[in-house]
Structure formats: C-alpha cells, structure tokens
Point group: C2
Chain length 244, copies 2
DNA sequence: GATTTCTAATTGTCTGGCATTTGATTGGCA
DNA sequence: TGCCAATCAAATGCCAGACAATTAGAAATC
C-alpha cells in the first residue's frame, strides 16, 4: 500500500484508493482491523486529519466501519446487498435527474430488465411474493390514495415481482432501476381510469406468475410498459399545451 | 439544511447527509457552488475539519468536486454515467466476492439481464457495435491468448452487445453485472476446445444481431449461458477432486 | 494596450490538544 | 475464591489555529 509522495495534492484520495485496492484485491479481508489512524498517518507520512479524510471516503462507500473505544478502529466491512442498495438507488436517481434521461428511455430500461426477471420469477415465486403483490394491488384500488402513494405501492409491487426470481444479484440491480423511476412516475397524474387499467395489468401479471406462465408474464409486462408510456406521453403533451 | 446537535457523534455523516439530500431534492443544482468550508463550519456550528470530512464523503460518491484558488470551492457535480460506472463496478465486484454468491447465481443474473437487452440491441445495433464484436471474436481465436485476456475480451464483447441497445440506463446497469463477473470467470481455465465453443456461440450471437433477429439472439445467449454454467461446473468439480 | 506583479480567497495539510467511548485491568469486598 | 466496581489505556470524534499552495482578479508597470 503506497502513495505517490511527489504529488502533494489529493493525499487523502490517494490513501483512500490504496486502501480500497487492498480491499478489492483481497490484501485486506472482511472484518480485518486497519491500523489505527495514528499508525496509518505514520505509515503514509501524513497527518491524522488527512488519514481521517481518507477513511471517511471509504466509509461513504460502506467499505469500512469505525468503532470507538479501546478495541475500536476501522474495520473492513462485509458489503451487504442491503447496505449497497440505498446508495445504488440514490446514484441511479441522480443519474436520471441530472442527465436529462427521457421518461421513455428510463421506462424502456426498467421494463426490459423486469422482463428478464419474469421467467425466473414465474418458476420460483413463493406464496409470500404473490400475497405481497395482491396486497399492493388491493391498496392501489383504494379511492383515497394519493398519486404519490399509488406510485410507492407500484414500486413495492414490482420489487416483489423482482424478488420472486430468488436471485439477490438481480434484486440488487433491479432495485436501482425500479426505485429510480419513482420520481419520474411521480410527475404523472393518475386518473381513476388509468389506475383501473394499471391495476388490471398488475392482476394479469400476478395471475400469470401464479400459473407459472413466463410468456404470459412477459406479455403482460409489455402491455404495462405500453400503457405507462402512452400515459406519460399524454400527460406530458397536456402539460406542454398549457404551461404553468 | 439542518443537523441534529443533540447527537454529538457522526457529525460529518450528518452534514454529508444534509448536503446530499439538498442535492437529491434539487435545493442545490448542478454546478452550483457550495459555501466555503469556513462558512459551512459556521452554519453547522462545527469545525472546518469536520466539514471537510463531510465534503470528502460526498466527493467519494462523485456528488461534488472541489477546486482550489480564489474562485474555488466545492461544486455540485453533474453525475455522469461514465463517472458512476467504475464505482458501480467496484461495488458489484465486492458484493459478489464478499457474499459468497455462487457462480451459478451470478451467471444466471448476468445472462437474464443480457437477454433483456437482446431485442433492443437487435433493433438498434450499429455497424460499429457489430465490428467491435467481430473484432473481439477474432482476438479470442488467437492461440497465445492468456485466460485472463480471453476473459477481458469476453467482457468487451458483451459490453458491445449491451451498448448496442442504445439505452444508457441499460448500459450502466449491465456494466456492473458483466464486469463484476470477470473475477469469477478468471477462476476458469479455458481449454482450446471450450474456447472454440464459446467463439462459435459469440459468432451466432453476432450473426443474429446482424440479421436483427431478437429471438435467435436470445436463444444463442441462452446456449452460451448453458455452456458457461457447465464449463464452470466441470472446472469446480475437478478442483474439488484434487485440492491444492 | 499588454504584460507583469500583487493580493485576496479558498482549499489542502499539519500540529497539538481535549472529549468521549469502551474494553481490559486491578483492587477491594464478601 | 469469586464477583463487582473503580480505574486505566487506547482509540476515535472533534476542535482551534496556523501555514502552504493555488488561482482568479485587480493593480501596477512598461
């Protein structure tokens, strides 16, 4: 673990990179304790605040955790899917909002990915997954539901669908795509009629999964994508007509 | 932007979260300059090192960039897909290696996601994408190629396939899944015979894409998945027989 | 008017110190 | 001997102040 002493700027970034590399290539293993801040400062020939800045960078990526006290210190974190997901969602959300990604593009990606889960989910979904999906469908039918709550329930429905595939890697990747869409979906006003259509399609998806019919699940998802796209298009067209 | 003064621990994390929230909800917009470190320290009633630790956390996530000098400071970064991808790949790689995800599970997720790109890629792939894929296939046929270089070429091939879909959201999500598999793939020894089979399947994939035949692309991908899985299984079985 | 120099603002880093937390040690007491 | 409380030591969390390096703009000079 070495840093470049020639370049006196960005010392904390260099130190963070050195430690990160050591974690990635296995030099530092899970739950291993890093040297204390004072020792690291000595090793890298920098001051303690600089070391601390480096450690905070790593902590921001959940690569390490710190613990105070006599046996405390910085420990290599076991990066869990649960810990990585919130950050993945934040990043995906910002990517969409800051890069002028069209609703169409985001929606296309999301449904393409969900269709990828469909065959696995049709095979492996448990009664629990189906129950969650039906519960969300039921909630979506409630008349007093705000648009935002409707979207949140939609996300919960789709996450259950994805989790039904029983593949944590898929669930992790899809969480970003599905949740990041929520701010975009929240821009849509859902009329009673469009809600009814969506609920109908959610029901066909759930039915198809229950019958373990992968093809039917995929075509229902495609229908839902088409419906969502045209709904968004009409909302945006309406908004363009009367600005303000 | 407020922090909880009651809880004296984790001040830098609280400040980082406050600023991150301001960026996510649009209070701070792209390229906007944050107050100087001294001003932030005053606002949050903490010291400058604490503010700096918070800023480093945000810099680690590419949410801000800093610039020295008279008109310098911390600026909200436009989070680009290019900047987010390396971190997404690092995270995905660590998730696989630290969570004992089986080769089977990771492989299944990867090919499910790639199949999701196939229809779009069949529709939109350019001559450039096809040329890249054929070039990688050609490289893979070179006899002197190390296993590691073969894997790297494999990754390049699949990334071209994914990029062919012309959807940056898909490319971003898939990059994590594809690249993170590389360390797992590197554990496999590729015989001349297995390389030949893979090259053959890569060729059918490229041919199907060239003919814009989505179904053929998907079934070729499925065949490649089956081949990869059985290859891995035999390698691991062999390794289990004679340990060391 | 162009070039050079100066200046002010800002981040990057260091030194030194104190507060807080927490496990380990040690001493006292039953 | 066994248990419990007080103490201790190590480590992180935080702070104050200072200096160095960089950079843009202003001022001075040719």
């Amino acid at each position: 673990m070495k840093i470049d002493p020639e370049n006196p700027a960005d010392l904390s970034a260099q130190i963070a990179a050195a430690i990160r590399d050591a974690i990635v290539d296995g030099t530092l293993i899970v739950d291993e304790r890093l040297p204390s801040e004072a020792e690291l400062a000595e090793q890298f020939a920098v001051s303690r605040p600089t070391v601390r800045e480096a450690l905070k960078r790593l902590a921001a990526q959940s690569l390490i955790r710190t613990q105070r006290g006599a046996t405390g210190g910085a420990f290599v974190n076991r990066l869990s899917f649960e810990a990585a997901q919130p950050q993945q969602i934040t990043t995906s959300t910002l990517l969409l909002s800051m890069n002028a990604v069209s609703f169409e593009t985001a929606c296309e990606a999301r449904y393409a990915l969900e269709r990828a889960c469909a065959p696995l989910s049709a095979e492996r979904r448990t009664a629990d997954h189906l129950a969650t999906m039906r519960a969300e469908i039921h909630r979506q039918g409630h008349p007093g539901l705000t648009d935002e709550a409707f979207c949140a329930s939609d996300v919960a429905f789709h996450r259950a669908l994805v989790d039904g595939a029983g593949n944590p890697v898929l669930s992790y990747q899809l969480a970003g795509a599905v949740e990041a869409m929520q701010p975009l979906m929240n821009m849509i006003t859902f009329t009673a009629r469009s809600r009814g259509k969506i609920i109908e399609l959610h029901t066909s998806i759930t039915d198809a999964l229950e019958r373990q019919n992968a093809a039917a699940t995929q075509s229902a998802l495609t229908a839902l994508e088409t419906e969502t796209q045209s709904l968004a298009q009409s909302v945006f067209a309406e908004r363009a007509k009367k600005p303000g």
